[in-house]
């Protein structure tokens, strides 16, 4: 096969991997601090994409802004609104329900995701149809032999990689990260050591949701189209990546995200079937990966006391 095409696929896989990793980190954070699975996370991605579209469109409509400022306002809106939605869901739904049976939390967050999805579908004008996303990044392509890639795509990929790295450093190197890890290990002991439990939990929700919302913004910039129900697939893939990488660890979901993207890209390249089956393959891959790595690549070390 032509090396340029292989590099192209590699680039696509990396791109998908970064986005999946950013979503999966959120699942792992929430599971770490509260032992809950928050299934509305995928729809926070959609919320991020739509708020950046709204902000960029609004800013561009009122005054003629240079694309840089429109982009900045879009990203700011996505991150702020995403984090806010995450904190509200955490405060109103997940914290009060954390002692209820796990199924209730699962159902509640799935329903919260439905509320977000339907609110976007009904609230955004013509929200049921795919929306074009403006190209806010500089155009132009980099060419190397038969391989060509847009400058915008490279910028998105670099930004995503930097963010994933930054989150990893935030969790492992800062006081806030230390507090999150302490709460994740043992909430009660963390509280006894003077950590504000609720603040840390909500901080983790804000962090994870802001990452997901930024991922939504990146998706819009990369694919130039967003859709009200794109969060369902991304949420399931993000959760599967987090599970395969190992829920409760920080590096696991990042590896899981890239692994998942790798499998998806490989299957699309290797199997001679129509691209209509792309989603079918993604879901089949989820089921198979979960079946093969039920406790994750980096298994959480814990013993059960009865």
């Amino acid at each position: 096969m032509d090396p340029g095409i292989i590099v192209q696929y590699l680039f696509n896989g990396l791109m998908l991997g970064v986005i999946y990793a950013m979503i999966a980190v959120g699942f792992s954070l929430f599971f770490g601090v509260l032992d809950v699975i928050k299934f509305s996370h995928g729809d926070v991605v959609t919320v991020g994409a739509f708020s950046s579209l709204g902000a960029a469109g609004l800013a561009g409509g009122l005054v003629t802004l240079p694309p840089v400022l429109a982009l900045a306002s879009g990203i700011a809106a996505a991150v702020t609104i995403g984090a806010l939605v995450g904190v509200i869901i955490g405060r109103v739904l997940v914290l009060p329900l954390r002692h209820a049976p796990g199924v209730n939390v699962l159902l509640a967050t799935l329903m919260a995701g439905t509320v977000l999805r339907e609110a976007i579908r009904l609230g955004v004008p013509n929200g049921g149809n795919p929306k074009p996303f403006p190209a806010l990044l500089p155009g132009g392509t980099i060419k190397a032999g038969s391989f060509s890639v847009g400058i915008d795509s490279v910028m998105i990929l670099v930004a995503g990689l930097l963010l994933v790295l930054g989150t990893h450093l935030l969790i492992t190197r800062t006081r806030f990260g230390l507090a999150i890890r302490a709460v994740a290990q043992d909430g009660e002991v963390a509280r006894l050591s003077g950590i504000d439990f609720q603040a840390v939990v909500l901080g983790a929700f804000a962090l994870g949701s802001a990452l997901a919302a930024f991922a939504g913004c990146m998706l819009g910039l990369y694919y130039h189209e967003i859709n009200f129900n794109m969060g369902v697939l991304l949420g399931v893939i993000g959760f599967a990546s987090a599970v395969v990488g190992g829920l409760g660890s920080m590096l696991g979901p990042i590896i899981g995200g890239f692994l998942f993207a790798g499998v998806q890209t490989l299957v699309v390249v290797a199997l001679p079937i129509s691209s209509a089956y792309k989603d079918v393959i993604a879901f089949a891959a989820i089921i198979i990966l979960i079946a093969v790595f039920p406790t994750g690549l980096i298994a959480e070390r814990r013993s059960e006391r009865v």
Partner: protein
């Protein structure tokens, strides 16, 4: 609660106690009459009025001593009340024998209630969330479509085969995640639902987005779709479907109620409440989860197969995550583990959006918010499952102390 005096002195508990069966019959007849009116109602005012009446009735049953008394009585005479309910349902069919639309709604409510009872078996008894209920339902319809088109299997057998197929696929899906704890089963069902929907949409042999036609149900040379009269009575061709749907509901109801009452039900409750304790007592967690999942999905498949045959076609449309969540909303609204609650909720969730065009578009949003409110403020549901009371087997509490 007990300090509030009964507001209606004429129906004081003393007089009611003397004729409990009469009270039960009157209550059930009243409820079914209300349900029949709801399914038949055409103007929006009527529907809103009936909805208000339903809420008032519910408030009375929930909050006043009289209502609690009547509810307890219906619970004590559960088998009798269920029998009366079956007769009342047949009565409704007889009343509406010529109305196509009302009978279609009635059969739909019966079949979705059947599926929701099966979901109850999985979620409320065994504690396994099945987020692909609608997918298994549609899978049942597709199985029926393929079997009616390409085989000569008699139609009653097709219903059973559809149940076996959906049950088997469910078990194949579940087997890999049985070794694990936590919510991998939930993730796998979500992924399966989405997979099935996208597969059905892109696969041309199963009709793609247009779906497939299904032949009508026929048994012993009696084609349900051609039926226009019984004796000298002109009837809608939906009448036999309504009767069959209600019979299937009754069979599923009895089957799952028997499971609940038997030692299988106790084993399922134990597995749900405390897996560690259950395995200490020698219960195989994996086995009981498989049993609940298998039976539940099989029942959903049978209901889906008949639903498809009644409609004459099936499309991938009904199999999305939203529809599965709507099914779960039904059982959460009705109260986890409460079968009649599921029937009431199925009627509210299926019929109200059909009748009130204003909320048709918003139905997912409204019901999702409603479920959130219930999970937060009344986690046991509108009509909670009664606590299992085994005291009659071991004597009154404190007897051997």
């Amino acid at each position: 609660m007990s300090s509030i005096p009964s507001p209606i002195p004429v129906l004081s508990p003393l007089r009611m106690q003397r004729h409990p069966r009469v009270v039960v019959v009157l209550t059930v007849v009243l409820l079914f009459a209300g349900g029949g009116l709801m399914m038949h109602a055409e103007s929006q005012i009527q529907v809103l009025g009936l909805l208000a009446a339903f809420l008032v009735t519910f408030a009375i049953a929930d909050r006043t001593p009289l209502g609690q008394e009547i509810a307890a009585m219906c619970g004590d005479y559960g088998g009798f009340a269920n029998g009366v309910a079956f007769v009342c349902a047949l009565g409704l069919i007889a009343v509406f024998h010529g109305e196509h639309y009302t009978l279609l709604v009635l059969a739909t409510v019966a079949l979705f209630s059947t599926a929701c009872i099966a979901l109850n078996l999985q979620l409320a008894f065994a504690g396994m969330a099945n987020f692909a209920g609608a997918a298994f339902f549609v899978l049942g319809s597709y199985t029926a479509a393929v079997l009616t088109a390409y085989s000569w299997i008699p139609h009653p057998l097709i219903l059973i085969v559809s149940g076996l197929v959906t049950g088997a696929i469910g078990v194949i899906l579940l087997l890999p995640v049985l070794r694990t704890r936590g919510h991998y089963a939930a993730l796998v069902t979500i992924a399966f639902g989405l997979l099935l929907r996208s597969l059905l949409e892109v696969n041309d042999t199963l009709g793609g987005p247009q779906g497939m036609k299904i032949k009508g149900f026929s048994v012993f040379g009696l084609d349900f779709n051609r039926m226009s009269s019984i004796g000298s009575w002109d009837v809608s061709f939906y009448l036999p479907y309504a009767v069959l749907s209600i019979s299937i509901f009754a069979v599923a109801f009895t089957l799952i109620r028997c499971i609940e009452r038997s030692w299988i039900g106790i084993a399922l409750d134990t597995v749900r409440c405390d897996e560690t304790a259950a395995s200490v007592f020698g219960l195989s967690i994996a086995r009981w989860k498989v049993v609940a999942f298998l039976i539940g999905n099989a029942v959903i498949g049978v209901a889906g197969a008949l639903y498809g045959m009644m409609n004459g076609f099936v499309t991938p449309n009904g199999s999305g995550l939203g529809d599965s969540l709507l099914m779960l909303s039904i059982i959460v609204l009705g109260g986890l583990g409460n079968f009649w609650g599921a029937v009431v909720a199925a009627m509210v969730i299926l019929v109200i959006p059909e009748k009130l065009q204003a909320i048709q578009e918003f139905r997912l949003l409204i019901f999702a918010l409603l479920v959130l409110a219930i999970l937060l403020f009344r986690p046991s549901g509108i009509l909670p499952r009664p606590t299992r009371d085994l005291s009659r087997f071991i004597g009154p509490p404190g007897a051997d102390a």
